[in-house]
Amino acid sequence: MTAMPTGAPAGNPVRPGRAWTMVERNLMIYRHTWPVLLAEIFEPMLYLLAFGVGVGLLVGDVPGLGASVSYPQFVAPALLATAAMNGAMNETTFNMYGKLTTDKTYESILTTPMSVRSVALGEVFWALVRGAIVATVFLVVVSIFGLAELPGALLVIPSALLIGFAFAAMGLLTVTFLRSWQDFQLIQLVMLPMFLFATTFFPLSVYPRAVQVFVEVLPLYHSVELVRAAFLGTGGGYPAIAVIYLAVLGVVALAIAVRRLEDTLRP
Protein backbone atom coordinates (compact mmCIF):
# COMPACT_ATOMS: atom_id res chain seq x y z
CA MET A 1 0.00 0.00 0.00
CA THR A 2 1.30 3.40 -0.94
CA ALA A 3 0.40 5.00 2.37
CA MET A 4 -2.64 6.97 1.37
CA PRO A 5 -4.30 9.60 3.52
CA THR A 6 -5.92 8.29 6.64
CA GLY A 7 -8.18 11.19 7.32
CA ALA A 8 -6.21 13.03 9.95
CA PRO A 9 -7.44 16.59 9.92
CA ALA A 10 -4.03 17.97 10.89
CA GLY A 11 -1.36 18.99 8.42
CA ASN A 12 -3.52 20.97 6.02
CA PRO A 13 -2.86 24.60 6.77
CA VAL A 14 -5.86 26.52 5.47
CA ARG A 15 -4.84 29.79 3.89
CA PRO A 16 -7.61 31.04 1.70
CA GLY A 17 -7.22 34.12 -0.43
CA ARG A 18 -4.05 32.94 -2.04
CA ALA A 19 -4.33 35.04 -5.15
CA TRP A 20 -0.64 34.65 -5.81
CA THR A 21 -1.03 30.97 -6.72
CA MET A 22 -2.96 32.09 -9.81
CA VAL A 23 0.21 33.89 -10.88
CA GLU A 24 2.21 30.74 -10.23
CA ARG A 25 -0.18 28.78 -12.42
CA ASN A 26 0.20 31.25 -15.26
CA LEU A 27 3.99 31.34 -14.90
CA MET A 28 4.02 27.55 -15.15
CA ILE A 29 1.93 27.69 -18.32
CA TYR A 30 4.13 30.37 -19.83
CA ARG A 31 7.12 28.09 -19.45
CA HIS A 32 5.51 26.15 -22.31
CA THR A 33 4.03 29.05 -24.27
CA TRP A 34 6.63 31.81 -23.87
CA PRO A 35 6.56 32.72 -27.60
CA VAL A 36 3.20 34.32 -26.89
CA LEU A 37 4.80 36.74 -24.46
CA LEU A 38 7.66 37.32 -26.86
CA ALA A 39 5.14 38.20 -29.55
CA GLU A 40 3.54 40.68 -27.19
CA ILE A 41 6.88 42.48 -26.82
CA PHE A 42 7.64 42.13 -30.52
CA GLU A 43 4.43 43.77 -31.67
CA PRO A 44 4.97 47.29 -30.25
CA MET A 45 8.53 47.17 -31.61
CA LEU A 46 7.17 46.46 -35.07
CA TYR A 47 4.79 49.39 -34.83
CA LEU A 48 7.59 51.58 -33.55
CA LEU A 49 9.76 50.63 -36.51
CA ALA A 50 7.00 51.01 -39.09
CA PHE A 51 5.40 54.17 -37.73
CA GLY A 52 8.06 55.78 -35.58
CA VAL A 53 10.83 55.30 -38.13
CA GLY A 54 9.08 54.61 -41.46
CA VAL A 55 6.23 57.10 -41.25
CA GLY A 56 8.44 59.31 -39.05
CA LEU A 57 10.55 60.10 -42.12
CA LEU A 58 7.44 61.64 -43.67
CA VAL A 59 6.42 63.53 -40.54
CA GLY A 60 9.51 65.16 -39.04
CA ASP A 61 8.85 66.83 -35.69
CA VAL A 62 5.47 66.74 -33.99
CA PRO A 63 3.92 70.19 -33.62
CA GLY A 64 2.26 71.65 -30.56
CA LEU A 65 4.19 69.90 -27.78
CA GLY A 66 6.44 72.76 -26.77
CA ALA A 67 9.98 71.46 -27.16
CA SER A 68 10.78 69.70 -30.42
CA VAL A 69 9.66 66.11 -30.20
CA SER A 70 10.61 63.69 -32.95
CA TYR A 71 7.93 61.37 -34.29
CA PRO A 72 9.47 58.18 -32.86
CA GLN A 73 9.65 59.91 -29.45
CA PHE A 74 5.99 60.76 -29.82
CA VAL A 75 4.82 57.31 -30.87
CA ALA A 76 6.95 55.11 -28.59
CA PRO A 77 5.16 55.92 -25.29
CA ALA A 78 1.76 55.50 -26.93
CA LEU A 79 2.74 52.07 -28.21
CA LEU A 80 3.92 51.06 -24.76
CA ALA A 81 0.64 52.19 -23.20
CA THR A 82 -1.27 50.29 -25.87
CA ALA A 83 0.81 47.16 -25.29
CA ALA A 84 0.11 47.36 -21.55
CA MET A 85 -3.59 47.75 -22.28
CA ASN A 86 -3.76 44.92 -24.83
CA GLY A 87 -1.78 42.49 -22.69
CA ALA A 88 -4.03 43.07 -19.69
CA MET A 89 -7.27 43.01 -21.66
CA ASN A 90 -6.31 39.85 -23.57
CA GLU A 91 -5.52 38.09 -20.33
CA THR A 92 -8.77 38.93 -18.58
CA THR A 93 -11.09 38.72 -21.58
CA PHE A 94 -9.88 36.23 -24.19
CA ASN A 95 -7.87 33.88 -21.98
CA MET A 96 -10.27 34.12 -19.08
CA TYR A 97 -13.34 33.46 -21.21
CA GLY A 98 -11.72 30.24 -22.38
CA LYS A 99 -11.06 29.23 -18.78
CA LEU A 100 -14.63 30.10 -17.80
CA THR A 101 -16.35 28.23 -20.62
CA THR A 102 -14.41 25.68 -22.68
CA ASP A 103 -11.78 24.60 -20.15
CA LYS A 104 -13.80 25.05 -16.94
CA THR A 105 -10.52 25.79 -15.19
CA TYR A 106 -12.12 27.88 -12.46
CA GLU A 107 -14.64 25.19 -11.67
CA SER A 108 -11.87 22.92 -10.42
CA ILE A 109 -9.96 25.73 -8.73
CA LEU A 110 -13.03 26.71 -6.73
CA THR A 111 -13.37 23.24 -5.23
CA THR A 112 -10.21 24.12 -3.28
CA PRO A 113 -10.11 26.70 -0.47
CA MET A 114 -9.56 29.40 -3.13
CA SER A 115 -12.29 32.05 -3.19
CA VAL A 116 -13.73 33.76 -6.24
CA ARG A 117 -12.09 36.96 -5.02
CA SER A 118 -8.65 35.29 -4.89
CA VAL A 119 -9.11 33.96 -8.41
CA ALA A 120 -10.15 37.37 -9.75
CA LEU A 121 -7.37 39.21 -7.93
CA GLY A 122 -4.90 36.54 -9.02
CA GLU A 123 -5.73 37.02 -12.69
CA VAL A 124 -5.36 40.78 -12.29
CA PHE A 125 -2.01 40.25 -10.53
CA TRP A 126 -0.85 38.14 -13.42
CA ALA A 127 -1.87 40.78 -15.91
CA LEU A 128 0.32 43.19 -13.93
CA VAL A 129 3.29 40.83 -13.97
CA ARG A 130 2.96 40.50 -17.73
CA GLY A 131 2.59 44.24 -18.11
CA ALA A 132 5.74 44.82 -16.07
CA ILE A 133 7.75 42.40 -18.22
CA VAL A 134 6.56 43.92 -21.50
CA ALA A 135 7.12 47.48 -20.26
CA THR A 136 10.61 46.77 -18.96
CA VAL A 137 11.84 45.11 -22.15
CA PHE A 138 10.30 47.82 -24.29
CA LEU A 139 11.87 50.53 -22.13
CA VAL A 140 15.30 48.93 -22.36
CA VAL A 141 15.08 48.71 -26.16
CA VAL A 142 13.89 52.27 -26.72
CA SER A 143 16.49 53.59 -24.27
CA ILE A 144 19.20 51.97 -26.35
CA PHE A 145 17.91 53.95 -29.33
CA GLY A 146 17.85 57.11 -27.23
CA LEU A 147 14.09 57.59 -27.32
CA ALA A 148 13.65 57.75 -23.53
CA GLU A 149 15.38 59.91 -20.94
CA LEU A 150 16.65 57.71 -18.10
CA PRO A 151 16.32 57.73 -15.12
CA GLY A 152 13.13 59.82 -15.37
CA ALA A 153 11.66 57.34 -17.83
CA LEU A 154 11.76 54.63 -15.16
CA LEU A 155 8.41 56.10 -14.12
CA VAL A 156 7.13 54.29 -17.20
CA ILE A 157 7.12 51.01 -15.30
CA PRO A 158 4.74 52.00 -12.49
CA SER A 159 2.67 53.75 -15.15
CA ALA A 160 2.44 50.53 -17.17
CA LEU A 161 1.42 48.68 -13.99
CA LEU A 162 -1.37 51.15 -13.33
CA ILE A 163 -2.58 50.90 -16.93
CA GLY A 164 -2.40 47.12 -16.69
CA PHE A 165 -4.46 47.19 -13.50
CA ALA A 166 -7.16 49.47 -14.91
CA PHE A 167 -7.58 47.46 -18.11
CA ALA A 168 -7.29 44.06 -16.44
CA ALA A 169 -10.14 45.11 -14.15
CA MET A 170 -12.13 46.45 -17.11
CA GLY A 171 -11.51 43.18 -18.94
CA LEU A 172 -12.64 41.22 -15.90
CA LEU A 173 -15.85 43.22 -15.86
CA THR A 174 -16.30 42.77 -19.61
CA VAL A 175 -15.87 39.00 -19.46
CA THR A 176 -18.83 38.70 -17.07
CA PHE A 177 -21.07 40.11 -19.80
CA LEU A 178 -19.91 37.94 -22.72
CA ARG A 179 -22.42 35.50 -24.15
CA SER A 180 -20.34 33.77 -26.83
CA TRP A 181 -17.04 33.96 -28.71
CA GLN A 182 -18.87 36.09 -31.27
CA ASP A 183 -19.01 38.90 -28.72
CA PHE A 184 -15.28 39.41 -29.05
CA GLN A 185 -16.05 41.24 -32.29
CA LEU A 186 -17.82 43.84 -30.17
CA ILE A 187 -14.75 44.23 -27.96
CA GLN A 188 -12.67 44.79 -31.09
CA LEU A 189 -15.19 47.35 -32.21
CA VAL A 190 -14.31 49.42 -29.12
CA MET A 191 -10.61 48.63 -28.85
CA LEU A 192 -9.55 49.34 -32.44
CA PRO A 193 -10.97 52.88 -32.66
CA MET A 194 -9.61 53.63 -29.22
CA PHE A 195 -6.15 52.51 -30.36
CA LEU A 196 -6.36 54.62 -33.52
CA PHE A 197 -7.78 57.79 -32.02
CA ALA A 198 -6.39 58.10 -28.47
CA THR A 199 -3.47 60.30 -29.64
CA THR A 200 -1.40 57.24 -30.49
CA PHE A 201 -0.25 58.47 -33.90
CA PHE A 202 -1.04 62.20 -33.83
CA PRO A 203 -1.57 64.84 -31.15
CA LEU A 204 -4.91 65.98 -29.79
CA SER A 205 -4.51 69.35 -31.55
CA VAL A 206 -5.36 67.70 -34.89
CA TYR A 207 -9.00 67.35 -33.84
CA PRO A 208 -11.70 70.01 -33.67
CA ARG A 209 -12.53 70.89 -30.04
CA ALA A 210 -15.73 68.81 -29.95
CA VAL A 211 -13.86 65.64 -30.91
CA GLN A 212 -11.08 66.49 -28.46
CA VAL A 213 -13.52 66.28 -25.56
CA PHE A 214 -14.63 62.86 -26.73
CA VAL A 215 -11.04 61.62 -26.97
CA GLU A 216 -10.19 63.04 -23.54
CA VAL A 217 -12.75 60.74 -21.95
CA LEU A 218 -11.09 57.55 -23.29
CA PRO A 219 -9.09 55.53 -20.76
CA LEU A 220 -6.37 54.83 -23.34
CA TYR A 221 -5.93 58.58 -23.86
CA HIS A 222 -5.08 59.00 -20.17
CA SER A 223 -2.80 55.97 -20.32
CA VAL A 224 -0.93 57.40 -23.30
CA GLU A 225 -0.64 60.80 -21.63
CA LEU A 226 0.72 59.18 -18.47
CA VAL A 227 3.43 57.20 -20.25
CA ARG A 228 4.22 60.08 -22.58
CA ALA A 229 4.77 62.38 -19.60
CA ALA A 230 7.21 59.86 -18.13
CA PHE A 231 9.03 59.36 -21.44
CA LEU A 232 9.40 62.99 -22.33
CA GLY A 233 9.70 64.31 -18.80
CA THR A 234 6.82 66.68 -19.48
CA GLY A 235 3.25 66.91 -18.37
CA GLY A 236 3.43 69.14 -15.31
CA GLY A 237 0.43 68.45 -13.06
CA TYR A 238 -1.33 66.38 -15.68
CA PRO A 239 -0.20 62.88 -14.61
CA ALA A 240 -2.10 63.30 -11.34
CA ILE A 241 -5.40 63.39 -13.22
CA ALA A 242 -4.46 60.34 -15.28
CA VAL A 243 -3.38 58.41 -12.17
CA ILE A 244 -6.62 59.18 -10.36
CA TYR A 245 -8.71 58.42 -13.44
CA LEU A 246 -7.10 55.01 -14.04
CA ALA A 247 -7.01 54.03 -10.35
CA VAL A 248 -10.69 54.85 -9.83
CA LEU A 249 -11.65 53.10 -13.06
CA GLY A 250 -9.73 49.99 -12.02
CA VAL A 251 -11.03 49.82 -8.45
CA VAL A 252 -14.66 50.34 -9.41
CA ALA A 253 -14.51 47.86 -12.29
CA LEU A 254 -12.80 45.28 -10.08
CA ALA A 255 -15.37 45.63 -7.30
CA ILE A 256 -18.31 45.14 -9.67
CA ALA A 257 -16.55 42.36 -11.56
CA VAL A 258 -15.87 40.32 -8.40
CA ARG A 259 -19.53 40.54 -7.40
CA ARG A 260 -20.71 39.47 -10.82
CA LEU A 261 -18.19 36.61 -10.94
CA GLU A 262 -19.46 35.33 -7.57
CA ASP A 263 -22.89 34.97 -9.16
CA THR A 264 -21.52 33.21 -12.24
CA LEU A 265 -19.12 30.84 -10.53
CA ARG A 266 -21.10 29.92 -7.40
CA PRO A 267 -24.68 29.58 -8.66
Binding site: G11, P13, R25, M28, I29, K104, P113, R266
Partner: protein, 317 residues
Protein backbone atom coordinates in the same frame (compact mmCIF):
# COMPACT_ATOMS: atom_id res chain seq x y z
CA UNK B 1 -11.80 10.58 15.71
CA UNK B 2 -11.59 7.46 13.57
CA UNK B 3 -14.70 6.01 15.19
CA UNK B 4 -16.72 4.70 12.29
CA UNK B 5 -19.95 6.12 13.73
CA UNK B 6 -18.72 9.74 13.35
CA UNK B 7 -21.07 11.61 11.04
CA UNK B 8 -19.02 13.58 8.50
CA UNK B 9 -21.84 14.88 6.34
CA UNK B 10 -25.23 15.75 7.75
CA UNK B 11 -27.93 17.11 5.45
CA UNK B 12 -31.35 18.11 6.78
CA UNK B 13 -34.13 19.41 4.56
CA UNK B 14 -31.58 20.32 1.89
CA UNK B 15 -33.04 22.23 -1.06
CA UNK B 16 -31.60 23.78 -4.20
CA UNK B 17 -33.63 26.06 -6.39
CA UNK B 18 -31.99 27.66 -9.44
CA UNK B 19 -33.10 31.09 -10.54
CA UNK B 20 -33.45 34.36 -8.67
CA UNK B 21 -34.44 34.11 -4.99
CA UNK B 22 -37.94 35.60 -5.39
CA UNK B 23 -38.50 34.11 -8.81
CA UNK B 24 -41.47 31.74 -8.84
CA UNK B 25 -40.30 30.16 -12.10
CA UNK B 26 -37.11 28.88 -10.43
CA UNK B 27 -36.17 25.28 -11.11
CA UNK B 28 -36.10 22.98 -8.06
CA UNK B 29 -33.21 20.57 -8.52
CA UNK B 30 -33.09 19.22 -4.96
CA UNK B 31 -36.32 19.18 -3.04
CA UNK B 32 -35.72 18.77 0.70
CA UNK B 33 -33.50 15.76 1.32
CA UNK B 34 -32.07 14.31 4.56
CA UNK B 35 -29.11 11.97 4.77
CA UNK B 36 -25.97 11.30 6.76
CA UNK B 37 -22.58 9.99 5.67
CA UNK B 38 -20.33 8.39 8.29
CA UNK B 39 -16.57 8.24 8.43
CA UNK B 40 -14.98 5.53 6.33
CA UNK B 41 -18.03 4.56 4.36
CA UNK B 42 -18.57 4.58 0.63
CA UNK B 43 -21.86 6.33 0.09
CA UNK B 44 -23.64 6.32 -3.26
CA UNK B 45 -26.21 8.66 -4.75
CA UNK B 46 -28.13 6.92 -7.52
CA UNK B 47 -30.44 8.52 -9.98
CA UNK B 48 -31.24 9.12 -13.62
CA UNK B 49 -30.00 12.26 -15.36
CA UNK B 50 -31.71 15.28 -13.85
CA UNK B 51 -32.60 13.56 -10.56
CA UNK B 52 -30.60 16.11 -8.57
CA UNK B 53 -27.41 14.13 -7.99
CA UNK B 54 -24.96 16.69 -9.34
CA UNK B 55 -26.65 19.60 -7.57
CA UNK B 56 -26.39 17.67 -4.31
CA UNK B 57 -22.72 17.00 -4.96
CA UNK B 58 -22.04 20.65 -5.76
CA UNK B 59 -23.64 21.71 -2.49
CA UNK B 60 -21.53 19.24 -0.55
CA UNK B 61 -18.43 20.47 -2.38
CA UNK B 62 -19.33 23.96 -1.08
CA UNK B 63 -19.32 25.46 -4.55
CA UNK B 64 -23.07 26.00 -4.65
CA UNK B 65 -24.91 27.46 -1.65
CA UNK B 66 -28.04 25.56 -0.55
CA UNK B 67 -31.31 27.43 -1.03
CA UNK B 68 -32.73 26.04 2.24
CA UNK B 69 -32.04 23.41 4.88
CA UNK B 70 -28.90 22.70 6.84
CA UNK B 71 -25.76 21.07 5.56
CA UNK B 72 -22.95 20.35 8.01
CA UNK B 73 -19.72 18.84 6.78
CA UNK B 74 -16.82 17.81 9.04
CA UNK B 75 -18.53 19.71 11.81
CA UNK B 76 -18.68 22.99 9.90
CA UNK B 77 -21.61 24.80 8.36
CA UNK B 78 -21.30 24.61 4.56
CA UNK B 79 -22.43 28.20 4.08
CA UNK B 80 -20.22 29.91 6.63
CA UNK B 81 -17.08 27.80 6.48
CA UNK B 82 -16.91 26.74 2.82
CA UNK B 83 -13.17 27.33 2.53
CA UNK B 84 -12.36 25.34 5.69
CA UNK B 85 -14.44 22.44 4.45
CA UNK B 86 -13.03 22.55 0.93
CA UNK B 87 -9.53 22.35 2.40
CA UNK B 88 -10.37 18.85 3.60
CA UNK B 89 -12.35 17.62 0.57
CA UNK B 90 -11.21 16.03 -2.66
CA UNK B 91 -13.43 16.61 -5.68
CA UNK B 92 -13.54 14.56 -8.88
CA UNK B 93 -15.96 16.41 -11.18
CA UNK B 94 -17.92 14.70 -13.91
CA UNK B 95 -16.01 16.40 -16.72
CA UNK B 96 -12.26 16.23 -16.35
CA UNK B 97 -11.33 19.83 -15.73
CA UNK B 98 -7.61 19.26 -15.81
CA UNK B 99 -5.39 22.05 -17.07
CA UNK B 100 -4.60 21.10 -20.66
CA UNK B 101 -1.86 23.69 -20.84
CA UNK B 102 0.15 21.98 -18.09
CA UNK B 103 1.90 18.62 -17.91
CA UNK B 104 0.57 15.76 -15.80
CA UNK B 105 2.77 16.49 -12.80
CA UNK B 106 2.34 20.26 -13.07
CA UNK B 107 -1.40 19.73 -12.77
CA UNK B 108 -0.88 18.16 -9.35
CA UNK B 109 1.65 20.75 -8.23
CA UNK B 110 -0.38 23.81 -9.09
CA UNK B 111 -3.59 22.32 -7.73
CA UNK B 112 -1.80 21.65 -4.45
CA UNK B 113 -0.72 25.28 -4.35
CA UNK B 114 -4.38 26.31 -4.27
CA UNK B 115 -4.52 24.50 -0.93
CA UNK B 116 -1.53 26.48 0.28
CA UNK B 117 0.75 23.43 0.39
CA UNK B 118 4.50 23.99 0.09
CA UNK B 119 6.41 23.03 -3.07
CA UNK B 120 8.49 20.60 -1.02
CA UNK B 121 5.45 18.73 0.25
CA UNK B 122 3.91 18.80 -3.22
CA UNK B 123 6.92 17.36 -5.00
CA UNK B 124 6.91 14.40 -2.66
CA UNK B 125 3.14 13.92 -2.74
CA UNK B 126 2.81 14.25 -6.50
CA UNK B 127 5.36 11.47 -7.02
CA UNK B 128 3.47 9.25 -4.61
CA UNK B 129 0.06 10.02 -6.13
CA UNK B 130 1.26 9.47 -9.69
CA UNK B 131 2.48 6.09 -8.54
CA UNK B 132 -0.83 5.42 -6.80
CA UNK B 133 -2.81 6.24 -9.96
CA UNK B 134 -0.30 4.42 -12.22
CA UNK B 135 0.71 7.57 -14.06
CA UNK B 136 4.40 7.79 -13.10
CA UNK B 137 5.55 7.17 -16.66
CA UNK B 138 3.37 9.99 -17.93
CA UNK B 139 4.52 12.52 -15.31
CA UNK B 140 6.14 14.95 -17.74
CA UNK B 141 3.82 14.43 -20.69
CA UNK B 142 1.24 16.88 -21.97
CA UNK B 143 -2.29 16.18 -20.77
CA UNK B 144 -3.44 15.93 -24.40
CA UNK B 145 -1.60 12.61 -24.80
CA UNK B 146 -3.60 10.88 -22.03
CA UNK B 147 -6.39 8.38 -22.68
CA UNK B 148 -9.80 8.86 -21.10
CA UNK B 149 -9.01 6.46 -18.27
CA UNK B 150 -5.69 8.16 -17.58
CA UNK B 151 -7.32 11.59 -17.50
CA UNK B 152 -9.81 10.36 -14.94
CA UNK B 153 -7.05 8.86 -12.83
CA UNK B 154 -5.17 12.15 -13.01
CA UNK B 155 -8.30 13.93 -11.81
CA UNK B 156 -8.43 11.49 -8.91
CA UNK B 157 -4.75 12.00 -8.12
CA UNK B 158 -5.40 15.74 -8.15
CA UNK B 159 -8.34 15.34 -5.77
CA UNK B 160 -6.05 13.50 -3.32
CA UNK B 161 -3.28 16.12 -3.30
CA UNK B 162 -4.52 17.69 -0.05
CA UNK B 163 -4.93 14.28 1.62
CA UNK B 164 -8.69 14.79 1.93
CA UNK B 165 -10.91 13.09 4.46
CA UNK B 166 -13.83 12.93 2.05
CA UNK B 167 -13.55 12.37 -1.69
CA UNK B 168 -16.52 13.35 -3.87
CA UNK B 169 -16.80 11.55 -7.21
CA UNK B 170 -19.43 12.62 -9.73
CA UNK B 171 -20.05 9.71 -12.12
CA UNK B 172 -16.44 8.59 -11.95
CA UNK B 173 -16.51 5.96 -14.70
CA UNK B 174 -18.94 7.44 -17.22
CA UNK B 175 -17.43 7.18 -20.69
CA UNK B 176 -14.62 4.79 -19.77
CA UNK B 177 -13.99 1.40 -21.34
CA UNK B 178 -14.45 -1.73 -19.15
CA UNK B 179 -10.77 -2.18 -18.47
CA UNK B 180 -10.32 1.42 -17.38
CA UNK B 181 -13.40 1.14 -15.14
CA UNK B 182 -12.05 -1.93 -13.37
CA UNK B 183 -8.70 -0.28 -12.73
CA UNK B 184 -10.49 2.75 -11.34
CA UNK B 185 -12.73 0.68 -9.08
CA UNK B 186 -9.70 -1.13 -7.77
CA UNK B 187 -8.04 2.18 -6.88
CA UNK B 188 -11.20 3.50 -5.22
CA UNK B 189 -11.45 0.32 -3.21
CA UNK B 190 -7.87 0.87 -2.09
CA UNK B 191 -8.73 4.39 -0.96
CA UNK B 192 -11.64 3.03 1.04
CA UNK B 193 -9.33 0.50 2.68
CA UNK B 194 -7.12 3.40 3.67
CA UNK B 195 -10.01 4.96 5.55
CA UNK B 196 -11.04 7.70 3.12
CA UNK B 197 -14.74 8.43 3.05
CA UNK B 198 -16.13 8.21 -0.49
CA UNK B 199 -19.25 9.87 -1.77
CA UNK B 200 -20.14 9.09 -5.35
CA UNK B 201 -22.94 9.54 -7.80
CA UNK B 202 -23.50 7.05 -10.55
CA UNK B 203 -26.08 5.72 -12.89
CA UNK B 204 -24.31 2.39 -13.21
CA UNK B 205 -25.83 -0.22 -10.93
CA UNK B 206 -22.83 -2.53 -11.09
CA UNK B 207 -20.65 0.34 -9.93
CA UNK B 208 -22.92 1.07 -6.99
CA UNK B 209 -23.04 -2.60 -6.01
CA UNK B 210 -19.26 -2.90 -6.30
CA UNK B 211 -18.24 0.15 -4.33
CA UNK B 212 -21.02 1.46 -2.10
CA UNK B 213 -21.67 0.37 1.47
CA UNK B 214 -24.81 2.40 1.55
CA UNK B 215 -26.75 4.44 -0.96
CA UNK B 216 -29.71 6.65 -1.58
CA UNK B 217 -31.88 6.57 -4.69
CA UNK B 218 -32.93 10.00 -5.93
CA UNK B 219 -35.80 10.81 -8.22
CA UNK B 220 -37.03 14.28 -9.18
CA UNK B 221 -35.03 15.96 -6.43
CA UNK B 222 -36.19 13.67 -3.63
CA UNK B 223 -34.71 10.63 -1.89
CA UNK B 224 -36.98 7.67 -2.58
CA UNK B 225 -35.01 4.92 -0.81
CA UNK B 226 -31.98 4.49 1.40
CA UNK B 227 -29.96 1.47 2.54
CA UNK B 228 -27.20 -1.01 1.72
CA UNK B 229 -27.38 -2.44 -1.84
CA UNK B 230 -28.37 -5.93 -0.67
CA UNK B 231 -30.91 -4.49 1.74
CA UNK B 232 -32.57 -2.45 -1.02
CA UNK B 233 -32.71 -5.43 -3.33
CA UNK B 234 -34.34 -7.53 -0.62
CA UNK B 235 -36.75 -4.78 0.31
CA UNK B 236 -37.92 -3.65 -3.11
CA UNK B 237 -37.67 -6.68 -5.39
CA UNK B 238 -38.44 -10.37 -5.49
CA UNK B 239 -35.57 -12.83 -5.75
CA UNK B 240 -35.40 -13.26 -9.51
CA UNK B 241 -36.30 -11.56 -12.76
CA UNK B 242 -37.40 -13.20 -15.98
CA UNK B 243 -36.49 -11.16 -19.07
CA UNK B 244 -38.38 -11.83 -22.28
CA UNK B 245 -37.87 -10.49 -25.80
CA UNK B 246 -40.42 -10.73 -28.58
CA UNK B 247 -40.54 -10.22 -32.31
CA UNK B 248 -41.61 -6.60 -32.89
CA UNK B 249 -45.01 -7.48 -34.40
CA UNK B 250 -46.08 -9.82 -31.61
CA UNK B 251 -45.05 -7.76 -28.63
CA UNK B 252 -48.37 -6.32 -27.57
CA UNK B 253 -50.26 -9.63 -27.83
CA UNK B 254 -47.57 -11.57 -25.97
CA UNK B 255 -47.31 -8.93 -23.25
CA UNK B 256 -51.06 -9.11 -22.66
CA UNK B 257 -50.89 -12.87 -22.38
CA UNK B 258 -48.21 -12.61 -19.68
CA UNK B 259 -50.27 -10.39 -17.41
CA UNK B 260 -51.00 -12.05 -14.08
CA UNK B 261 -48.16 -14.54 -14.37
CA UNK B 262 -45.88 -12.58 -12.05
CA UNK B 263 -46.38 -10.32 -9.08
CA UNK B 264 -44.88 -7.40 -10.93
CA UNK B 265 -44.31 -6.75 -14.58
CA UNK B 266 -42.28 -3.94 -16.18
CA UNK B 267 -42.46 -3.09 -19.86
CA UNK B 268 -39.24 -1.68 -21.28
CA UNK B 269 -38.83 -0.49 -24.87
CA UNK B 270 -36.88 -3.61 -25.80
CA UNK B 271 -38.02 -6.27 -23.35
CA UNK B 272 -40.49 -7.38 -20.71
CA UNK B 273 -39.40 -7.96 -17.10
CA UNK B 274 -41.32 -10.29 -14.77
CA UNK B 275 -40.43 -10.16 -11.06
CA UNK B 276 -40.77 -13.46 -9.33
CA UNK B 277 -39.40 -15.67 -6.57
CA UNK B 278 -38.69 -18.49 -8.98
CA UNK B 279 -37.77 -17.59 -12.53
CA UNK B 280 -37.83 -21.09 -14.00
CA UNK B 281 -41.33 -21.73 -12.71
CA UNK B 282 -42.57 -18.47 -14.14
CA UNK B 283 -40.95 -19.30 -17.48
CA UNK B 284 -42.84 -22.62 -17.55
CA UNK B 285 -46.05 -20.74 -16.82
CA UNK B 286 -45.26 -18.39 -19.71
CA UNK B 287 -44.78 -21.32 -22.08
CA UNK B 288 -48.03 -22.88 -20.87
CA UNK B 289 -49.86 -19.69 -21.87
CA UNK B 290 -48.64 -20.29 -25.41
CA UNK B 291 -46.23 -17.37 -25.30
CA UNK B 292 -43.20 -17.89 -27.52
CA UNK B 293 -40.50 -15.32 -26.71
CA UNK B 294 -37.45 -14.85 -29.01
CA UNK B 295 -35.20 -15.08 -25.95
CA UNK B 296 -35.82 -15.76 -22.29
CA UNK B 297 -33.37 -15.11 -19.45
CA UNK B 298 -33.65 -15.78 -15.74
CA UNK B 299 -31.39 -13.74 -13.46
CA UNK B 300 -31.02 -12.50 -9.88
CA UNK B 301 -32.68 -9.21 -9.06
CA UNK B 302 -30.32 -6.25 -9.03
CA UNK B 303 -30.25 -2.58 -8.09
CA UNK B 304 -31.45 -1.82 -11.59
CA UNK B 305 -34.72 -3.54 -10.66
CA UNK B 306 -34.90 -1.60 -7.40
CA UNK B 307 -34.60 1.58 -9.38
CA UNK B 308 -37.22 0.46 -11.86
CA UNK B 309 -39.63 -0.40 -9.09
CA UNK B 310 -39.11 2.89 -7.29
CA UNK B 311 -39.17 5.28 -10.21
CA UNK B 312 -40.95 3.35 -12.93
CA UNK B 313 -38.16 3.87 -15.42
CA UNK B 314 -34.77 2.59 -16.38
CA UNK B 315 -31.69 4.39 -15.12
CA UNK B 316 -30.08 4.75 -18.50
CA UNK B 317 -33.11 6.38 -20.13
Amino acid sequence: MTDSSTVLIDAQGLRKVYGRPGDKAGFTAVDGIDFQVRRGEAFGVLGANGAGKSSTMRMIACVSPPTAGSLRILGYDSGADGAKIRARLGVVPQDDTIDTELTVRENLLIYGRYFGLSWKVLRERSTRLLEFTRLSEKADDAVATLSGGMRRRLTIARALINEPEIVLLDEPTTGLDPQARHLLWERLFQLKQDGVTLLLTTHYMDEAEQICDRLVVMDAGKIVAEGAPAELIARYTLREVLELRFAPGERQIMTDKCRGLAERMEELPDRLLLSTDNGEETLSAVHRQGVQPLTALVRRSSLEDVFLTLTGRSLLD
